[in-house]
């Protein structure tokens, strides 16, 4: 493991007129689950979007598998093997589940669509049951599964997940995180996860970063951060027992 799969170096980025990233450095190695936590407005989603080239970094450098992708267009980055599951899922509401998955396969050469969609159905059997239903009629949890499945169809080497637990019932949250772990273990997929649900997010992470005000504040293994006093106070407890 000589070089990281993704390395982000001094990246600055703007969201509208506001500077959201003030020089972010982090790296993700092949096969890892890396979790990024931080308060709302810290710039987590902007970082994922900047990695995907929308918006483009105004300064700094993003390297993916030894290639400088800082100035690549979003669709080129997707073709290189980075799949983004955006915040709020953004599935195609008026297309069927199957059509959603087929669109996900756009960056591939198309020879593996059958097998890949079977894989997704194995991971999320409910999607197979609903495969001819329109995306918009799915429940929140099913839509999240579809969004992940759609990303997997592009056969990515790096999966970017933006708050997959958003608005999901506790049981479903657990299913989703189990699926993420499964994708990582059995398919050797590298995962970069942004999560508000820090307890779950850190629990399955090999390594994690804490972000505040557009900068990385702290890094360590998932377990280290889970037991770190400051992290617990800022992102985990909030006066509640941890669930």
């Amino acid at each position: 493991m000589s070089q990281p799969l993704l390395s982000v170096n001094g990246v600055q980025s703007f969201y509208g007129p506001i500077q959201a990233l003030n020089g972010v450095d982090l790296e993700i190695r092949e096969g890892e689950i890396v979790t990024l936590i931080g308060a709302n407005g810290a710039g987590k989603s902007t970082l994922l979007m900047t990695i995907c080239g929308n918006p483009r970094a105004r300064a700094g450098k993003i390297m993916f598998d030894g290639m400088d992708i800082t100035n690549h267009a979003t669709h080129e980055i997707a073709r290189l093997g980075i799949a983004h599951v955006p915040e709020g899922r953004r599935i195609f509401a008026h297309m069927t589940v199957l059509e959603n998955l087929l669109i996900g396969a756009t960056p591939t050469d198309g020879t593996n669509i059958e097998a890949d969609s079977q894989d997704v159905f194995e991971l999320f059997p409910i999607l197979e049951e609903r495969k001819n239903q329109r995306g918009g009629t799915l429940s929140g949890g099913e839509q999240q599964m579809l969004a992940i499945g759609r990303a997997l169809m592009s056969r990515p080497r790096l999966l970017l997940l933006d708050e997959p637990s958003l608005g999901l019932a506790p049981l479903v949250v657990r299913d989703i995180f189990k699926a993420i772990q499964d994708i990582n273990k059995s398919r050797a997929m590298t995962v970069f996860l942004v999560e508000q649900n820090a307890y779950h997010g850190l629990g399955l992470a090999d390594r994690a970063y804490v972000m505040a005000n557009g900068e990385i504040q702290m890094t360590g293994t998932g377990k280290e951060l889970l037991s770190n006093e400051n992290v617990r106070a800022a992102y985990l407890e909030g006066g509640h027992s941890v669930r």
């Binding site: 170096n9 450095d25 936590i37 700094g60 450098k61 429940s139 608005g167 657990r174 820090a198 669930r243």
Partner: protein, 709 residues
């Protein structure tokens, strides 16, 4: 890490650029060969001359231009910060008033300048007609977001109204002007009433059809309109009874006689120039002012999110009609001026291309921008006229400029938007207040839902659901995804009409039956406010503006439905200050004061959630329905939200209905929990009862989570 932050410029891919330029050159060749390469003789006949050099020049220009463009774009993608144009604009911003007055003085003095000839004055008049039309359409398209492709119809109605009134009844221009505006406005409202349910593409097609219908009626109703010949000898305007004619009729005095100067045709043109200048100035002041009134804000809010508007008690039909009607009135004024200037009209002046040009002015200027319309009208109207010297290259030049503007500024020339009201710098003489609901003295619950059933096709989303929510309580509705929780909210707030069931909202002893009310009335009258699972703010408006839209009804009444506001009466100013003060209370409580004048759409998810709660509270609800307010918040932020919600409950005494998946939060702050599964109630009780309920653990909480929380 100390990485070098200097961006390394990747080398330009020369091969790809050459290929791209080559393809562009080929297309240019295919186009130039038939269009410029051959020339038929003017007098007809089959012999034609060839112009090979023209084709060569065209191909070379395209090839080199494409290469230069690729290089320019490559360099641009590396550059930082705002473009030079934006920097100039922001540098000029503080002097905008001086610039405006200077520009106005220049325009006002133009016809008196020694170098001003007929053509210049005429051209100035023409440009101002289009500026006025652009401002009118800007209200409809730029502010209210209603794509109107038949705007010229109202222009035509105004022109024909004036003409027919002047020719048949001998009314003067000044008598006809308001009438023409009125007729056009009436037409706008009449057309708007049936079609404004439509949006976007559908509305565009219907308005396009309406524009054509008016033209065809004008052609075919020849008894009245003179058919395609039109009407001639339309009287020109007079200055206090002084006519602009070399030979006045008996008993009339002509302008040149009154002032004892020799007759000159340009006097009339200059007079017309000043009329349209005055009309345009009035239109401008009107537009600027009305944009800052509640109705103007409502137009923009409607453009941003109609669903959210309804949830805040705004009646979308009325708001759209007012935009459509006012846009039509302005077109009517411009139309009657057009008629008096021309002296004759026929239907060929009111073709679709006119609508398209006016729309292009609005889009090119930057939707919603007053000054942008001026710039775009200058480019679009002046350029083809000035370029007449270039003879047959006129339109080529025009097209080139259009393409360049769209490449350079794809969202229009001026896209900056001034907020209609700013917290910072607003002088607040009064302290705000919030509502306080008296403790429920009687035994009536605030909201009583009985036998609610809602089906979508074969799917029963809610199945005979009954429950009650009390004032001063937080009532949580929980259940798996797809259990029908949001559907219950949509029924309560009028977005769905339930198939069966009653929803009684308490109101000083009486009840409102929510299932019989329109969505906007449920907020405005029954005082039920809501937030949305997927956040529905007005993203391009500031946080404060979002909160002001929520106070629309009260501000509209205070401004006498805009009249007091247009006149700048203190009655409206005081009401507005009170509304800002009320909004400020929520900005302070929700820790949003710093971002009050920031566009809501640029803020992070968690902040947007808070804005939505503040906006809902600004409607002064008696029942607040929150759809997953803690989604996307971390535990610390959730705890802050808990405090806000319990404060709202304890201090205002209103009822809160809460959908949420964060069990820690639900258990912590709820007084009463209702659990749904498959549209039916499976449990109902206090947090402790729910936590131990086996059915709830099975369907929702999961075994290990049920025990500790």
């Amino acid at each position: 890490m100390t990485a070098s932050n200097a961006i390394e410029k990747p080398p330009i891919n020369l091969g790809a650029t050459l290929k791209e330029a080559g393809i562009a050159a080929l297309i240019a060749l295919a186009l130039a060969l038939p269009l410029a390469g051959f020339r038929l003789p003017d007098g007809g006949g089959s012999a034609f001359t060839t112009r090979p050099w023209w084709v060569v020049v065209a191909v070379v220009v395209v090839f080199v231009g494409r290469m230069a463009f690729a290089l320019w774009r490559h360099n641009r993608s590396i550059s930082h910060g705002a473009g030079i144009f934006d920097r100039i604009l922001s540098a000029l911003a503080p002097y905008s008033r001086i610039i405006f007055i200077g520009f106005f003085a220049l325009v006002a003095l133009l016809p008196l300048m020694p170098f001003a000839d007929r053509r210049m004055v005429d051209l100035g008049t023409l440009v101002m007609i289009y500026i006025m039309l652009g401002w009118g359409l800007n209200i409809v398209v730029g502010l209210a977001g209603l794509l109107d492709l038949g705007y010229v119809a109202f222009y035509a109605v105004g022109a024909y109204s004036y003409t027919l009134l002047a020719v048949n009844f001998g009314l003067s221009f000044w008598q006809c002007l308001p009438l023409a505006g009125l007729f056009a406005g009436l037409f706008g409202v009449l057309l708007g009433f049936p079609v404004l349910r439509l949006r976007g593409d559908y509305l565009a097609i219907v308005t396009l059809g309406f524009g054509e219908m008016v033209r065809i009626i004008l052609i075919n109703w020849s008894d009245l309109t003179g058919g395609s010949e039109g009407i001639t000898a339309i009287p020109g305007p007079s200055l206090m009874g002084l006519k602009f004619t070399p030979t006045p009729g008996a008993g009339e005095t002509a302008f040149h006689q009154f002032f004892s100067i020799p007759f000159a045709g340009i006097h009339k043109l200059i007079f017309l120039y000043y009329i349209i200048l005055a009309l345009a100035l009035v239109t401008h002041l009107f537009s600027v002012r009305i944009r800052r009134l509640p109705v103007g804000r409502a137009w923009e809010a409607l453009r941003e999110d109609e669903t959210a508007c309804r949830s805040l008690g705004l009646n979308p039909v009325l708001i759209k009609l007012s935009a459509f009607g006012i846009g039509a009135v302005l077109a009517g004024f411009a139309g009657s001026f057009f008629a008096t200037r021309q002296g004759f009209i026929n239907p060929s002046s009111f073709t679709f291309i006119e609508s398209a040009i006016i729309l292009a002015i609005v889009v090119l200027g930057g939707m919603g921008s007053q000054v942008g319309v001026i710039c775009a009208a200058l480019v679009l109207i002046l350029l083809p006229e000035l370029a007449r010297d270039f003879a047959e290259f006129r339109m080529l030049l025009f097209g080139g400029v259009m393409v360049a503007i769209m490449v350079w500024r794809p969202r229009g020339l001026l896209v900056t938007r001034d907020p209609s009201v700013m917290l910072h710098g607003f002088d607040l003489p009064v302290a705000g207040t919030t509502q306080v609901v008296p403790k429920n003295s009687g035994t009536n619950p605030l909201l009583q839902i009985e036998h609610l059933t809602m089906r979508f096709g074969g799917l029963t989303a809610i199945d005979d659901l009954s429950f009650a929510a009390r004032a001063g309580d937080i009532t949580a509705v929980i259940g798996p995804n797809g259990a029908g929780k949001t559907t219950v909210f949509n029924c309560i707030t009028g977005f769905y009409r339930p198939d069966v069931g009653r929803m009684c909202m308490d109101h000083d002893g009486g009840v409102f039956l929510l299932e019989r009310m329109e969505g906007y009335q449920i907020s405005a009258t029954a005082r039920v406010a809501r937030t949305f699972q997927n956040i529905r703010l007005f993203p391009r408006m500031t946080v404060l503006e979002n909160l002001m839209v929520a106070q629309h009804g009260k501000l509209m009444r205070a401004s006498w439905y805009s009249f007091a506001g247009l006149l700048g009466l203190s009655r409206f100013k005081n009401a507005e200050a009170r509304a800002v003060a009320d909004a400020k209370i929520w900005l302070e409580r929700l820790d949003l004061v710093d971002v009050a004048d920031t566009e809501a759409g640029t803020l992070s998810y968690g902040v947007q959630r808070k804005i939505e709660i503040g906006r809902a509270m600004c409607t002064r609800p008696r029942l607040l329905c929150l759809d997953e307010p803690a989604a996307g918040l971390n535990p610390n932020e959730t705890q802050a939200l808990n405090k806000i919600l319990t404060d709202i409950r304890d201090q205002t005494g209103i009822g809160i209905l809460l959908i949420e998946h964060d069990m820690a939060m639900v258990m912590d702050i709820s007084d009463h929990i209702i659990v749904l599964d498959h549209g039916a109630r499976i449990a109902d009780g206090t947090p402790d009862e729910i936590r131990k309920n086996p059915a709830v653990i099975r369907a929702y909480l999961g075994e290990e989570d049920g025990g500790h929380s």
